[in-house]
Symmetry: C2
Subunit: 494 residues, 2 copies
Amino acid sequence: MAEPIRFPDIPVYAGWGAPVRLESELRDLEVVQGKVPEDLNGTLYRCGPDPQYPPMRGDSIFIDGEGIASMFRFDHGHVDFRTRYIRNERFTLQEKARRSLFGRYRNRYTDDASVAGKNRGTANTNAIWHGGKLLILKEDSLPWEVDPDTLETIREWDYDGAVKAVSMTAHPKLDLDTGELLTFSYQAKGDATTDVAFYVVDKHGKIAHELWFNAPWAPMVHDFAVTETHVVIPFFPFETDLGVIKGGGPFYQWHPERQTVVAVFPRRGRPDEVRWFRGPTTSAGHMMNATMEGSKLHLDLCLYQGNCFPFFPTPEGKETEPVPPFLSRMTFDLASNSDGYETKQLSPMPCEMPRTDDRYQGRAYRHGYMICFGPDRAGGSMLGHLDHASGKLKLWNPEEASGIQEPCFAPRRPDAPEGDGYLLVLVNRIKEMRNDLAVLDAQKIEAGPVALIRLPTRVRMTFHGMWVPAQALETGIYPVTAMHEAAARAGVHA
Amino acid sequence: MAEPIRFPDIPVYAGWGAPVRLESELRDLEVVQGKVPEDLNGTLYRCGPDPQYPPMRGDSIFIDGEGIASMFRFDHGHVDFRTRYIRNERFTLQEKARRSLFGRYRNRYTDDASVAGKNRGTANTNAIWHGGKLLILKEDSLPWEVDPDTLETIREWDYDGAVKAVSMTAHPKLDLDTGELLTFSYQAKGDATTDVAFYVVDKHGKIAHELWFNAPWAPMVHDFAVTETHVVIPFFPFETDLGVIKGGGPFYQWHPERQTVVAVFPRRGRPDEVRWFRGPTTSAGHMMNATMEGSKLHLDLCLYQGNCFPFFPTPEGKETEPVPPFLSRMTFDLASNSDGYETKQLSPMPCEMPRTDDRYQGRAYRHGYMICFGPDRAGGSMLGHLDHASGKLKLWNPEEASGIQEPCFAPRRPDAPEGDGYLLVLVNRIKEMRNDLAVLDAQKIEAGPVALIRLPTRVRMTFHGMWVPAQALETGIYPVTAMHEAAARAGVHA
């Protein structure tokens, strides 16, 4: 006798977190305000979790759940929408069983016996297009390749066997000048290992460089950053304890007495070139960018003076109080013998999900975009645009009791100046339990959307995503990379 | 430069009528209350309109719009959901053009010149399974066959060329004893023709009988009824005027001075066996059933003392005031020489979308089900169960400000007594702009649902549909028909 499918009444499934689970498509979304710019042609891909079945243990955390990809294809003023679950091993096993088979977040020791040894990856965090492939990412496993037109799952992708790490970050960095993808793995040899692997993937999707080293403990590293010359990987005080997870405990524990440790190394570095820095107890989920200024490496990130994931408790089982994230700059002087670093706050308003004009990742940059939380944080969230040159923060507040999801930047043209383009922002209409997609002029967000595109449904929560120009999908290469290559062939320094 | 897709602010698109346009699927709907009975295995198919694009003329009526089919597949306590537009010629032409190309309701003279001569059928009214085929129906054209598992459109279906009528009713009647489908066409030779064609389709899907005759004018006949021996087709005072539609006017006009005219003939009748009856000006969209009592034929229908489609105006262009529908019985005495008939009201509460235990269509029956409108009709609608034996009306009111869609009956077993089974009812949660599917014990509707199945999305409006037992989908024949055939082979009178 089948038990009814019924989700537990827990905070993570309340309100906006209520499962949607719907796979859907809609050709020609309604544009209820303004017009979609005719020069905005390409696809916004996003990904987030939406629980396939009620959790085995009756509880969950907001970063868990099976991954569902979404896409908005812009074609000369028309926008087509589609969502599709990633049909990886976990999903298809559970689909067949019609129930959850994988237990607590990342803890294989809590799984149903029938799925021992199976791939428990959720594919729920990010969507990135590189080397002619659309990849869906979660740091618990390798990428899953999906069809960029249909979102149908194609295969798990280990770069033709070249990647030996067991997982890959959900936050690789694209270098749109060289066409390279820079990525890494932590716990790269399996649960609770200290191994870190860094990879450079060339513009054709081949592994061009790899570097293995060991972290000071079995860490959690959700994001990292790159400059034109260097890579920076922060290790905040989260640790995986094999004994704890074997006992059914949380995959990560927060160590409030422990320092932040940061690895910096050259892009094509060797193991002996990894340099370590140490600082106060902090944490962060997401980096905005990293840049070089002479010998100094600046890392801009949404920094918490405490635990950014309060649902990962201390070894004593204590959940820590939430603290607000502030955009901050850590500065590492590579010319100095010190293992310390400076930290300064860049903006007064709490914010998360920082993004830039992607063409300026690793480069000197001026414009940052993020979700901002005003004084009345319960009232939802706002879009923020921070001008690093002036220090000024502009805001767009979509409406009382609405929230926004991470903004993505789309340049007006491949050779447009930095920040000349659009921000694409999913707006959560919390009262109506559905979304709009707002298109804003990235230089005038305070003026409100140039187009407001209405969805009749809810896109529960897409953590991250990417704008892929139509030209990239057609040619297999980013137009900015193509432009720079043409300039190089012509002997022009790009 | 593409015009933005934007729907006009008109009453038919307001509130619950707002376009959804989403094609979706969800495996294992959440059962938020009770349990889905394990003996309820099969598929509920439904169909309704959901406008593909904003209307060409900026206005529409609620029975217009491109057809979207929905299905709920019940499998031992699990329920899977799917919706899909019918990809007929109209839909695919508009999909390609990314705009409406077909104009006013059923008026080809208001279409874009590019679609002259194309099939303008909307396929938006009903879903019926017969002869191993799932057919999507609208009286403006021939049926469209769709895949019963995926709802993908297969083809237009003219019964291998056997049907010469240009259209078929959306309300054919299944005889679950013989496995026959009884159906008809009006304006059967094209717009504004008076030709009516009646067809009997055998259980294998072959045309077994046809009868052509002429109506007194070019009529609208939305529904009809059959008994074990006879067919009854009412002609209410709606007429199509070719001059009016050529001038861009409404497809039907209401003639308040005209009588109701009813044709009655034997199931295998010849043209000279069509008998005509006349009565007061009335109208109806939907029949509950028809039965024989000696020489008397009873037709039970939701009868309006006036125009049931007030948006079809008089020849003077006057829209008539809405009048309430009451379940009523028209009685035609076939032994009498009179061309009159008796009418009596069966229930005091306005109601629409009448249904029965489908196994008793055309047979003496006791139980009727319908949407009831209480004194406070603005407050939504209720499910009603009328017991013809006692005259008692039971009600289930899903909740203040909720409404329901047409109920479908599913027998507990093929040989269960009349009314022993479930009612499947889409509940419109108007505040939340989404649906539940309620499963009620058909003998105890006042007790509320035995299972309440939650949808995260809205099924805009499904006019009609049908429950198809799993056994029928597997074997190609209704279990009740199979049971009766087995009894006949064994020499037992079923």
